[in-house]
């Protein structure tokens, strides 16, 4: 489960509701959660604001950081 998926569920939002709030399609949220699409920084910021979180918490890949 991706971090975005986890925090979205924690906020009690469906993919469609989150998509509506950040003005994208549900499909885009689904693709981001499944790591099939890299959102723009602008979209990442909008998602973080809606979920009341920050970019690191939602989008930073811990495994990549540990490898470095």
């Amino acid at each position: 489960m991706s971090k975005l998926h986890f925090y979205r569920k924690q906020a009690g939002l469906s993919q469609a509701k989150l998509a509506n709030l950040v003005e994208v399609s549900r499909q885009t949220i689904n693709l981001i959660e499944n790591h099939k699409y890299n959102p723009s920084l602008h979209l990442c910021i909008r998602i973080a604001k809606v979920l009341g979180s920050d970019l690191n918490t939602l989008f930073w890949e811990d495994s990549d950081y540990e490898e470095k």
């Binding site: 469906s14 993919q15 469609a16 509701k17 998509a19 003005e23 994208v24 399609s25 549900r26 499909q27 885009t28 693709l31 699409y37 959102p39 723009s40 979209l43």
Partner: protein
């Protein structure tokens, strides 16, 4: 939400996409459009060269026109098919609904659209069929029960097909 300006509406209509035209959809549409443009550009170059060559060989202008028109039409149909398949494969035409009442509302809207399309289909095919050569008078052809019934059945099949195609685009989040 991106403003529904003329450009956005045109993109949605041409590519058959639904819902918000967000960054992901725009990215994919741009790449589909780029491939289509490249194919058209290469085809136009080659076809123009071939037409010029045929004219220098003194091939009949009528034949050149027929061949050129026919190949243009075929290439255009092939491109439209590519766009349709690419959009469908990437699910850019997906319609997302999050609850049952909205789902039912959408289905009702699709039924209405399919029926209106079917009526339009019936009249267009009926009018086009009147242009084909026949031994009976125009009035007899218009009121012919056999032709009307056949075209009604075709329109009904079209309505069912359109409804099924539209229904497949709906995604209901569970």
């Amino acid at each position: 939400m991106k403003k529904n300006n003329f450009y956005t509406k045109l993109i949605k209509r041409l590519y058959g996409t639904n819902g918000v035209l967000d960054e992901y959809k725009l990215q994919k549409i741009n790449s589909i459009g780029n491939v289509s443009f490249m194919i058209m550009a290469v085809y136009t170059l080659i076809s123009s060269f071939v037409v010029t060559l045929m004219m220098s060989w003194n091939v009949s202008l009528y034949n050149i026109l027929i061949i050129y028109t026919a190949t243009n039409f075929l290439v255009l149909m092939a491109l439209l098919a590519y766009i349709l398949i690419a959009v469908s494969k990437l699910k850019l035409d997906e319609i997302s609904v999050d609850d049952k009442p909205n789902y039912k509302k959408r289905l009702a809207k699709f039924r209405k659209s399919a029926i209106i399309s079917g009526i339009g289909f019936f009249f267009v095919t009926r009018i086009l069929s009147l242009f084909s050569p026949a031994d009976i008078t125009l009035l007899d052809r218009i009121v012919s029960p056999k032709d009307n019934v056949i075209q009604l059945i075709e329109a009904l099949i079209f309505v069912i097909f359109m409804y099924i195609v539209m229904k497949r685009k709906i995604y209901q989040e569970k």
